[in-house]
Subunit: 321 residues, 4 copies
C-alpha cells in the first residue's frame, strides 16, 4: 500500500533542532507528494485528535528556533492499552499511513510497543539532549546542549579564577554522562562525576588540597545530575577541605535556545531520511547518523543502554588539567 499521508509528532523533553526536524519531515514529504499532519503534544494529540494538515508554509521561519512548534507533553495514557487504541482510532480516522516520532528513549519504547500491536509504520528520529540513543553517534539536541553548558562553564571559570574558588557545576544527564564529559573536556575542568563511573570524593579532595599547596587555586568539578547533586558535592568538598566551594545547577537552560549548525544539520538530514524510510516501507526503527552517514537502527536496539567510551574521555580530562 503506497504511503499517501503521514503524521509527525514530538514527544519527551524538548530538544534544540526539533523544529528543524519537523520542517524537514514536512517539506520532504510534500516534495514526495505525501501529505503530512502535524500532531500536537505528542501521543496526547493522537489520543485526543489534536492534529491538522500542514503545508509548506506551516514550517516557515522555525529552522532556527528552539523548542517545538508541535509542543510536547507527557502522556501516561499512552502507556495503557486503551490509550493506544484511541490513538490508533485517530490514525485510522484520518487515513494516516505512517508516523514519524521525534523524541528520545522513552518515546521509542512507546513507539515500538505501539507498532507491535497495530502495525502502523513508525519511524523514530532521535532528539534527546543526553545523547542516549544506542547505535548512533549523536542525537541532534546534544550539540546545542553541550555548547550552552560550555558557555556557562566559561562564565563560571571567570569567577573561579578571579575569586580563586572551587565550583561544582551540575549539568543534565539522568543516566548519561555525555554532557558532563563533553563540557568537562572542552571547559578544561578539573573533575567530572558521572553515572557510568565510580567516583572517590576523598581522592578528589586530596588532589584539591595538594593542588592548593602548589598554587592551584581554582577548580571546576562537573557533575551529571544522575550521579550526584551539585549542592551535596560542594558541601562535602567544603567539609573535607575547608576551602570555599560553590554549587551551580544549570538546569533547564540546557534544553532550549537556537540550535547549533550541527544540531540543525543532523535534524534536517534525519527528517529527510525518516521520510525516505517510511516511503520504502520500513518501520519500527530509528534513523541516525553514524560516521557521518545516515543509518537505521531497530527500535529494540536503539532503546538499549548506550555505551560511552567513558574511560578514554576521562583519562584525557585528567591529563589536560
Amino acid at each position: 500500500m503506497p504511503i499517501k499521508r503521514i503524521a509527525v509528532l514530538t514527544t519527551g523533553g524538548d530538544a534544540p533542532g526539533m523544529n528543524a526536524a519537523i520542517r524537514s519531515v514536512v517539506r520532504c514529504a510534500i516534495n514526495q507528494k505525501v501529505e503530512v499532519m502535524g500532531v500536537s503534544r505528542g501521543w496526547w494529540g493522537l489520543i485526543n485528535e489534536e492534529l491538522k494538515l500542514f503545508n509548506h508554509r506551516s514550517v516557515s521561519g522555525i529552522i532556527n528556533q528552539g523548542g517545538t512548534v508541535l509542543k510536547t507533553a507527557r502522556c501516561p495514557e499512552f502507556t495503557t492499552e486503551e490509550g493506544r487504541e484511541r490513538a490508533f482510532q485517530t490514525i485510522k480516522k484520518h487515513s494516516i499511513d505512517g508516523l514519524i516520532v521525534i523524541g528520545g528513549n522513552g518515546s521509542f519504547t512507546a513507539a515500538h510497543i505501539f507498532y507491535q500491536k497495530y502495525k502502523v509504520p513508525v519511524i523514530g528520529i532521535p532528539a534527546s539532549i543526553d545523547n542516549d540513543i544506542n547505535g548512533i553517534d549523536l542525537t541532534f539536541g546534544a550539540d546545542t546542549a553541550v555548547n550552552t553548558a560550555l558557555a556557562a562553564i566559561d562564565n563560571i571559570r571567570d569567577t573561579a579564577t578571579s575569586m580563586e574558588r572551587i565550583f561544582v557545576v551540575e549539568v543534565m544527564g539522568r543516566d548519561s554522562g555525555y554532557i558532563a564529559l563533553a563540557v568537562a573536556l572542552g571547559g578544561g575542568c578539573e573533575g567530572v562525576i558521572i553515572p557510568e563511573r565510580k567516583f572517590d570524593l576523598q581522592v578528589m579532595c586530596h588532589d584539591i588540597v595538594n593542588g592548593n599547596l602548589k598554587g592551584k587555586v581554582s577548580w571546576i568539578i562537573v557533575v551529571a545530575e544522575g550521579a550526584a547533586k551539585a549542592e551535596d558535592i560542594a558541601r562535602k568538598i567544603h567539609e573535607i577541605t575547608t576551602l570555599e566551594t560553590r554549587a551551580v545547577t544549570l538546569g533547564h537552560i540546557q534544553r532550549g535556545g537556537r540550535p547549533t549548525a550541527f544540531s540543525r544539520d543532523i535534524a534536517l538530514k534525519l527528517g529527510h531520511a525518516a521520510v525516505e524510510q517510511i516511503l520504502q516501507g520500513k518501520a519500527d526503527l530509528a534513523v541516525g547518523l553514524c560516521c557521518g552517514k545516515v543509518i537505521s537502527v531497530d527500535f529494540a536496539t536503539a532503546i538499549e543502554k548506550k555505551n560511552l567510551e567513558v574511560d578514554s574521555w576521562y583519562k584525557l580530562i585528567k591529563i589536560l588539567t
Copy 2:
C-alpha cells in the same frame, strides 16, 4: 602634593568589565605620566604587599575578558584597624599617592573608613552586577549580567512553551530587584518577586489558574535571590495550583562572561574619570554615569540604599503579559 604613583585594585564579587576598567585606569594614568601599581586580590594584596608596577602592555588583550586579572578576594582583616594599618604601610612603602578601588557597595564602605583615617586619596569605580550603587544610573557589570540572565530566560521560554509548564527562575540580587525586573520585562515574563516589593503568592496562583482556564499554559516567574528561593516558590505554586512547576537557579553564570559593549563603555569611561579625579585632588568619592555624563558621588552617598523605580517597572511588566 602632585600624584606620581597610584595603585588600582578590584574587590568584592567579580563583574564583567572589571578588566576594561583596569585597562582604562592603567593607560589613562600612564598617559598622564603617572605610575600605576596593580594590587592582587583586593585589600588582601595591600595588606600582604602583593602588588607590582604595571606598564602599557600589562593590560593588553583583557578588554573583552570577564573576571579580573587582578583577582579579588574577601578580606576580613581589612575590617580591623590592624589590617588597615598594614595596608597603609604598604602604601607608604611603595610611595603610592592615591588608590583606585573597583568594586561594589561593601568595597566603598571599606574605602570610606580607610580614607577617614589615613587620608590617602581613594576614588571608587562602581562594579557590581546588582546595580546597587546609589546616586548613579548603572554599574558596569549590570548590563552584562542582565543579558546573560535574559539569554537563559529565552532558552527556558522555549521549554516552557513547548512543554506548557510553569518555571520559576531565580536570578542574582541579594538586596536589589534590578536584574529580576530587567529580565522579567525583557523576557516577557509573567511575574516577578523582588526584595523591594511585597508579594502575594495566593494572588499569583489565582492568576495562573485563571489564565490556565483561558488557555494560557506557560508561565515564567522571575525571583531575585534576596526575595525568595526558586525551589520554595515552585513547590508552593505546585501545591496551590497542582500544575507542573520547575525551578531554575541561574547562579554564578550571571557573574562572568564577555562584557557587553555597554559594560565596556562604562568601565572605560569611569577608569578615565577616576584617574582625572585623583589627579585633581579629589578623594572619598565614586565616579559614575548619570544621564550619560560622568559624575562623582561621595562614598557616604554611594553606599546608601539605592531607590529603584520599582512600581512603574512592575506595572509595565503586568500590562505586557
Copy 3:
C-alpha cells in the same frame, strides 16, 4: 474626541527591538481599551489598505525576535501628495484615531508632513540602529547593533593578533559615527574614521609604521560607512606602509538578531509611552529616553542633525590604545 482605535506600523530599515515595540504598543493599547490595527510594510500598507485588527495573542512570542512582524518597506509613493491622500483614506475608512510610527529619521520626516496636512495624531518611536534621532539618548536598535559589531571585532582581533595584521573594519552609519565610536572604544581599536570628524590617513600611517618599529604588530581601524569604504582605506594603508592590510565590511549582520536586554527595555517602555501620549491627545512628536526617563521631542526637533560628543570619545579611544 476620545481615541478608540489606533494603528501601528514600522518603516525604514528594520532594527532589533521593533517587535518588542509592536508588542508593547498593542498590549498597552488593549489594556486601555483601545483597539489596535497592525499595518503591513509601513506607509505602503496604509496606502494599499493592508492592515488588520490585532489582539493580545497577535504579538505573542515576538519579544526576542529581530526584524519586524509588520514588515517594512520603502514607499516612494508616500512622498507624493496623492500617496498621502490615499493613506488618509485608509485611516478614515477604518476609523483610525491615531497612528504610531516605529522608525527612524526619514520616517519621522514623512510622519511630520503627513500630520501637518491631515491632523491625524501621529506619535513616533525611534528605532534606528544608527542612534541618529536628535533630542534623545539612544534609539533602541543601537545597543544590539553595537554588540553585534563588537562581537565581530572581537573575532577579528583573534586573527589580527595571531597573524599580526592590520584590519580595516567597516560598520554601519551613513551620517553617524555612533556605532563606529562605540565599537572602536569597546573593542580596543587603534583608529576610527567617522563622518563627523576630519581624518588624516598620512598621520595614521605614520603612527602605524612607528608602532610597528616598537613592536606593535596588529591594528584594527574602524570605519563608518558614511566616511569611507574599508576597501579603499585598506588599499591606501597598504600602499603607504607596505604592511599587509585586510578589509572587512560587516554590513547587514548588524541589523538583525535577538535584541539585547537594553534594546528590548527601551522598545517596551517607549511603546507604552507612545500609547500614553496618543491617549493624552499629543501628536507630531517622538517619545524617547533621556537620562533614563521617558521624554517627548517634537518631530521637527527629532529630525535635526544629532550632535555626538565626538571629541571626548575620540580622545579616550586614542589614550586607551
Copy 4:
C-alpha cells in the same frame, strides 16, 4: 631513539581551537615526560630561532580563546631549500626530536617536503576552517566557522524577511564549498554557489521571479568565496530580475572567536593523538577524526583534493526551501 623533546607550531590561517590543540600537545607531552618547545609564527619561528620551552602553566587559560598564542605567519622562505635548512639547524641546535604542526593543507605540504629531506618526525594536526583535509571527517576550526557564519545568516534573515529582499552572502572557502553548504542547509537558504558544482544564474533568477509571483519575497543565496564574489552575483540578479538585492561578505569574522565545544573536543583529542603518534615513532602523517575515532592519514593523502558529497547536500537544500 626515544623522543625527549618536541616542538609545536601553528601555521596558515588561524582557526578556532588552535589554542586548545596547543594546550593538549603541551600537557600530553609533559604527562609523558617529554619536553615541549613552543615555536612562534610557524615556520618563520623555526628559521629565526624564535622558540622557548613551555611548561604546564604556559597553556593555562587559553582553551576557550580564538586565534593562536603561538601566532602564525606566512613564510615564503620555508618554500626554499635554504629556509628549510635553517629550520633544521634550529631543530638540531635545540635537540628537538619531533615536530607537531597545527595547520592546513599548505602546512602539511611543506611539512611533507621537510620530512622527506631531514627525516625529523613530523605529525600534523588539521586546523583549517574550510574542512579541506582529505581522509578525515572534520577539521577542528570548521564547526566554529560554520556556527559563526550561521549566526550571521540568522541575523540577515531577519532583515531579508522584514524588508522582503534578496541577499547574497559570501562565506569563506577558496577551494571548498563546505562552509557554504553547511550554512545554506542550516540557515534554510534558498540557493548556494560553490566551487565544486556548476551553477546557472539564469535558472536561479527564473526561480526567483517565479517564486516572487507566488508570494515568496525573501531569498538568501550563499556563495563560497572561491566560486564567485557576492557583489557580482547580487548585481547580476538585480539586472536580470530587477528585484532589490544586497550583498554581504562575511570575511574574517568567520576565522576567530570562542571555539565551539566540538572544535575544542576535536582539537584536544588530536593534540593527544599527535603526541601518542610521535612517541610511537610515527612521522609524515596527520591525525584526524573519522567516524568519531582518531585515525592517521599520510601527508601525501591528506593534501589531496577532498571530495565532499556535494550532490546529496545540494539536493536536500533545494527540497527544504
